[in-house]
Amino acid sequence: MNYSRNDLRLSEATMNQLRNAIYHLARFLINNGVTDLKERLRQMGRNIAKTYSNYWNPVDTVSLTNIREVIATIYKEVLKSSVSVEINDLEQLIIVSDTNCALCKYHYDDIEIAGCEILLGLIPEYVNQINMNSNQKSGLMIEPVNIQKSRALGNKSCVQVFKYKTGEFA
């Protein structure tokens, strides 16, 4: 009997080599003519969220009242990282600051991409998956904006920015 994905969810793995692999993948993709690298990484994050959410969800419904805590909890569960989440009501932005991002650690001279682009795909998809499968319609969805800072880009911490929308679509 092999491990199940649920078994894996309950244990931890060291990311050092796989984090490096993301940047080697990025080089490989660029060298082979891929021009939408950010989108490729975000798509990887979306796929991870779709599978992961089959095994664990922090709440039944995500709304504006709990979005900050839900996002912080997802980071804690998936990435074992303690993050700060701020909401900018004026511009409808969600700003996540992570001083210990599992996907970014070193600045590479030859590549200008942050590994946490993957999270820019993962987090919105995770939240949207929860709400899609929820009985209560919260009317909230989020989408990626950009990586404002990243340790992979030479900054001291990573800052991921998302935009939230409220309405009838969710």
């Binding site: 092999n2 969810r9 490096n20 912080a72 909890t73 074992k80 210990n100």
Partner: protein
Amino acid sequence: MGVVKWLMKKITKAFGQNTSSLFFSLLYREILKEINNITNDEDLSLLVMREIGKRAANESCERHSTIFKFMPGSPDKVLDYFEILWVVVFGKELEDLSYEEIPKQDSPYNDYLLKIDNCPICADYGLSPEDTFDLSKVKQNKEGMACGLCGMLQSVANFILQVKENNYRIRITEQKCKAKGDDYLQLLCKVYDYNQWKELKSSEKEKNILSQLHLEETEEEFIQTSKLDIFDKLQDAFSLDKIEDIIDEPFETVKERIANIIEDKLHMEPTKFFDYFRNYEDDMIRILGFLTIHLLNEYGGFVEKLLKNETMAKAFGYLYKQLKELVLLFIPLDVINDYHEFLVNFLDGLAPEEMVENVRMYSGRDDINFVFEGAQIALEDLGINFEELEDNIWEELKSQREDELVPAEQSLVDKTQERFPKIVKILQEIVMLLNEILTLPIRVLISEGHYGLKTAVNSVVSEEEGLAGSIRNRFDTIFDNIQELRQ
């Protein structure tokens, strides 16, 4: 499992950057899928995945090369420490591993077949709609899902051999894959001498294919002797397997080995070596405390990194102060004197007579104070400002949120509150651990004829429930809490 092997695994895991294993496994899957989007050829994708795994692991090894200087330096020993390779690469305990040795003529080293019942990469593969990498298109004689992991393991193994200037290399390939329908993950570890290895690294066909994808195979660089430091010179004597041997051997043999090391590595008689410290015996004992902290820090500089964090520096400062007080308050003087006697016995025969007599003049209490003074100097070097510390650290424990969600905005106070129960737990465990270790000399003395530390421990208690088990459990708790603290 040997004590050193266990400790090495714990340290590697506690100080690595961890995520959930499921995230690791899914990210691995996505990397493979992205490669396949480029190649549109599953066999070729596995080849590229292996190459990316090799490069990724090699990058980590080069960053942390000091760690590998203490690994054993021959292919058979490296494979004997496969569990550590696995933990370095994957960070997860390896369960259900079995070895089969394949005898090889005309070579000092045999090949190995490793069977692993549980493969984290293949876990539930195929159950989700996103599992789109189609393994049915992979030819039967090709590798499977764990090829990238094999590339990583191979890189780490060969990096160790390279650092140890060994002329053999190991090729690790996946022969059976659970996601392909096999019953277990099977890895073939073939050992080659360096000339064979250079010819065999990749077939010409594979090289051409990788080259077309702009992924030329990386060449190894041999480390020049001029770059070697003092640790390189001592690594043969202090590699993990040798330390494990020393722990297994009784006291007199340990003395004999240390004498041999001094003679071999420093080219001088042990008495001449210790003669340098004659009339400076107190400083020599201080150096023990000083060196212990700095040697701990040699492991990737983790003590220094840990103490860069102001909260951690303070916590360790308080821990140090508490330990210093507790040792002298609660440990019976007889026990401390036993250790002093142990030190005198150790020096007797190795050091000049006059020096042994000088050390004999000190009390056990003096020894402890000297060791702590030395350790304090080292801790100050590494970032603890003892002048800033208050008398008391006890704070209220953080209350749990009712909804169990993690607070979204973590101030320094929040983070400290979150960490505090774990810090307190570590403090408690270390203090208890120290108490238990300090009672060891009594057991050693009772153990007739000084059969050695390990004999004494094993004769008094069982591995599971007694002192050894208790110490191991306490270390487990300490490492688990450090790991949580780092998140």
